[in-house]
């Protein structure tokens, strides 16, 4: 332990969000904003993290979950200094530096937290404070510096005269404190007229007491500031998305239009993959090298193999092999495994289905709860009737089977290797390997020739056809 901890302020109500969801839980690039803060703190080497919660405490506590992060409630809510005081009580006694982070400022990079830690330590300061220059500073406390650049005061907007209001440098609300100094002084923060204790007052306490306060300037103002409303949320989403896209492009991924591509923060993409416009890659998705995804593809929590194309389709929680072609307009629902070289054509729905290498489902089919072998051809209009109103049943199709157009497969049912079904067949019983069945319900051709001459394959109906 190097004695570093963080208190994360997540008690605010966020009324300008106008939401029943606590502000710090609104998602950004696939994660609640609070988790971005915690991840950056962890990346900066701060392992002990105490989140101070207030409004909607249960929801926030549930979202933070276990791990190294502790939550503590602030009730009633009496300001940021009060929240820090509560959080402080949970920190290890060996803590030497305390970062105070805002739960609604999800874009502060780990490097900025590191710089605050370094600046506080190197400067032998009681406080290192993050400053920024937002395009619109109104509403924020202004930093007043002396001729030498040292911080003289933070003046809140209500107390500021015209000259101070002109100052563009503001207090971003993120700090690193010397733990001992913080413990000694947190109780001295006065009560404001509104009955709250503001963290900003610690700056005045430090300066008037002759302690050093150092200022760290945020490299990009928009990364330092908190999110107050949905407009700010959308802006943060855009910034974060731009950074994620830049990272993948540096890694050798072509992103045709980064501004119209939504890639969640944990997604991995191989070299020379090409991401076409209007594409979503979310959750724990992994895209193989040389894959072409989009336009208009949505890949959720799935693994896509190298050289595979997913065109204007949705893939959910599935594993797709190499050299597969999917789409346009197909939907892989959760639980699919697609072997290499398969062709999942347009208007195809798969669910909890495994498809062997080189099989083809070119058009208009629904396979659910199915195991399909290799080199199988599924004709257009094929449907697995996997639900009998009570339970789901599985369908098995052997290697090299040829399923005719408009075949209904009433599960549980098994089609043997090399077997064939005729157009419009309603298959209700297992079909042995190499056999051909036709009709409704489907019968073997031999059997049917005897019993039902009008189904003679010579006259049609019996010879299975499929489409491509």
């Amino acid at each position: 332990m190097i004695g570093r901890a963080a208190v994360v302020l997540a008690a605010g109500q966020g009324t300008r969000m106008r939401s029943r969801l606590p502000k710090v839980l609104h998602p950004l690039a696939g994660r609640p904003m609070l988790q971005h803060v915690l991840a950056s703190l962890a990346e900066a080497g701060i392992e002990q993290q105490v989140v101070v919660v207030g409004h909607d405490a249960e929801q926030v506590e549930a979202a933070v979950g276990g791990g190294a992060t502790t939550t503590v409630r602030q009730e009633p809510q009496k300001g940021t200094a009060d929240a820090v005081r509560i959080g402080l009580e949970l920190l290890d006694s060996g803590t030497q530096q305390v970062v105070v982070a805002m739960g609604d400022a999800p874009l502060v990079p780990a490097a900025v937290f590191e710089e605050l830690l370094s600046a506080q330590a190197a400067g032998d300061a009681c406080i290192a404070l993050l400053a920024s220059r937002p395009s619109d500073p109104s509403g924020y406390g202004r930093l007043v510096r002396d001729a030498g650049g040292s911080l003289q005061a933070i003046v809140e907007e209500d107390d500021a005269d015209a000259a101070v209001l002109e100052l563009g440098e503001v207090n971003a609300g993120t700090y690193c404190f010397d733990a001992g100094w913080l413990r000694a002084n947190i109780g001295a923060v006065p009560v404001s007229p509104s009955g709250e204790h503001y963290l900003t007052d610690l700056v005045e306490i430090a300066i008037s007491g002759g302690s050093r306060v150092v200022v760290v300037s945020s490299p990009r103002a928009e990364l330092a500031m908190g999110i107050n409303d949905r407009s700010g949320l959308a802006a943060a989403e855009r910034i974060l998305r731009g950074e994620i896209a830049e990272r993948h492009m540096r890694n050798g991924v072509t992103i045709v239009d980064p501004s119209s591509t939504f890639i969640d923060i944990d997604v991995q993409i191989g070299e020379d993959a090409r991401i076409e416009p209007w594409t979503v890659l979310s959750g724990a998705t992994r895209i193989g090298s040389d894959a072409v995804i989009g336009p208009q593809a949505q890949i959720l929590d799935s693994k896509i193999g190298a050289r595979t194309t997913v065109w204007s389709s949705v893939v959910e929680s599935s594993v797709v092999g190499e050299d597969v072609e999917i789409g346009p307009y197909s939907h892989l629902r959760p639980g699919c495994e697609i072997g290499p070289g398969c062709r999942i054509g347009n208007f195809t729905e798969l669910k909890k289905t495994r498809i062997g290498a080189g099989s083809q489902i070119h058009h208009f089919s629904y396979l659910g709860d199915a195991d399909v072998g290799e080199a199988v051809n599924i004709g257009a209009g094929t449907i697995t009737a996997n639900f009998d109103g009570t339970a789901k049943h599985r369908t098995t199709i052997g290697d090299r089977a040829f399923i005719g157009v408009d075949t209904m497969l009433r599960a549980p049912v098994s089609i043997g290797p090399g077997a064939r079904t005729g157009a419009g067949a309603v298959v209700t019983r297992d079909v042995p390997a190499g056999e051909t069945v036709v009709g409704m319900p489907a019968r073997r051709i031999g059997t049917r020739q005897r019993k039902a001459p009008d189904r003679n394959p010579e006259q049609g109906g019996g010879k299975p056809r499929s489409d491509a």
Copy 2:
């Protein structure tokens, strides 16, 4: 009546649009641009509106429709002052203030019209004139002010020397006149070398006559200016769309990417709804609270209930209840009513169809002209044959019916409550409540067991299955 009226100039040809559609009728966020102007004037409390039309007069007249707005033709077209003179003749005699608005400047906010009215009245001026500072002032008349800031002249670009051309403040072309002064002076506008009468000359007449002209500065230049070409149209669309998105975000709607979301001006959205990217909400659409719309959804003139999700689907002129899930890749054509808790799965088409609460249509089905009860399960591949080549017929499906996969329902036909159909059934006659039918054409199992033992449900084909 408070004596306020507007003359809207809509006679111009708009040749740079290169369109057969009159310029002022090109749509923006779901309305012709002229209607944006009329709506802002009405919002500013100006009820009498006269639109002066010229080119393609019939189309513009038809689009303005009835209501409080009158149209009058300017033939031949002899300039903006001539158009105002013609419009003036139709105003009530009690009119005290006359706003002159451009039909091709659809982004001028009501607040700017109000400010012009106030400025004219308060300043006891004969003219209040709207000024702006566009990023590229070329082509516009420059405002020349004296040291005290009073307007001295408007100098057209052709008459301007280098110093004047440097001035960035231009005449936006929108005015508020004292009605009496305007009536007295409109006839004095001289003929230009091109044979037209320009409204701008009234400013010179006023100044040289010692009357006051006050200037109102547009808060955002891009809102004041007219649209001249399709590039300007696209820019206006972007601005307007951004403002609409901001309004919804302030109301507590999450819009993940405002720049890729197209929301028409009259759409209403409930709190905590989430609008995903690449989504169109158009016409009179209303979205309930906590709904999730998109990505890639198109909702046209429809009402979507609270907590309902519409994913990558199209909904046209329909009413969808609460807690419904639609998509991906479904299409509700006009005239559908979907009860609460329904699941309209992927690849489903509905038309003029009512679905009761809790029914499921998971995949690949077309229901047209159908009445479906509650808790019905529609198997994949179900189709209503609602058209016999001559007329459309209705299909009725009772509560808790179970329609097997690939069932054809030849309308008019009725499936009773709790009835079932087998896979591939072609239903041509009504099915009583609780009965099961199978086959092509479909028969009751009891009947069929006697006549057609090869359809014995023990052997399959008879036991209805569906899919999920």
Copy 3:
């Protein structure tokens, strides 16, 4: 021949792209970036073009193809001056001016090449050099000018002091040389410490030798600069796309959201067409006047007729007539010809299929390798079984035929004019004109009435129905 030639530098490795594809072959708006350079040079009247290739020479040579362009290999790669020396050897002896262009700077407009040619000739200069002012000049050689504005030196960043680093004007790397001077001096370029010969040194040779070097400033910095990484590629794509959209808007095309519309460089669009958001028009696509394309349409190498709408659908390598409606969610695969007035509804797949005027395929159908007449109605769920596992076969449907829902057409098969099929029919033999067939396999109603009374059309199943 006017004695103008170009040497295009395309030998660089482009390591920052992190790609197996040579940098100059990465596509932009539908063309490899190198071809944009060659097209602009040709547009500027430079017909002889020598491309100097190095890394991945075979791929680049293959992509440049034949035509007026020659390629030559630089092996080993010893710098830009060495590359120019190699290219120079292939130029006609009558060449008077040599443009040196970068293969990775695809946005340099023809007008800039023309200006370099003019400036070199008019100024009697040995070199005309392209300068630009990028927003971030770091990494580029800075132009140092004297008080009179004449170029004094190009100082590479490593050799620059602080004052020079402050200069924002940089060498863009594109030149026009006097051919004789270049031939005389190219051998004098010294070897750098890294063992390469840099073209920039020619500027010093010229200046120190008392020859004139003139500077042409790029009107927009972002057009002059080379692409170094995928981020630069995405930025170039955006710029190029914006210019293409502007061109179409000037021609009278409405593009609702240019930033979300991807139009390849060779696409043609008629007046008053409307391109909705999230639309791709690629390859040799031609869109007729008054067509409405999108939202979410992808038109690849296809011709779309006037007044036709393509809504949320994909059209590949097909020809669509006038007044056709397609979509949403349809897919025309290569080789389709759609007659005027057709309606290709939702969830329809067509492949190598010709459809006559006024025919309707409203929903859920797959037609492959089919010839469909005029005024045909194709019911929902119709499928051509065009593949028998070995070969593809054609389906023919005559004028005014009425194909019932869920009809399977087992190719090769022909449906005569005015013929009808029943719901669920599996058609395996030709149907004569005007006849009606039903059942699996489908039989003429007359025949079936005798043999199979349970299929009596009076009882249903026999009377064909379709849907609309």
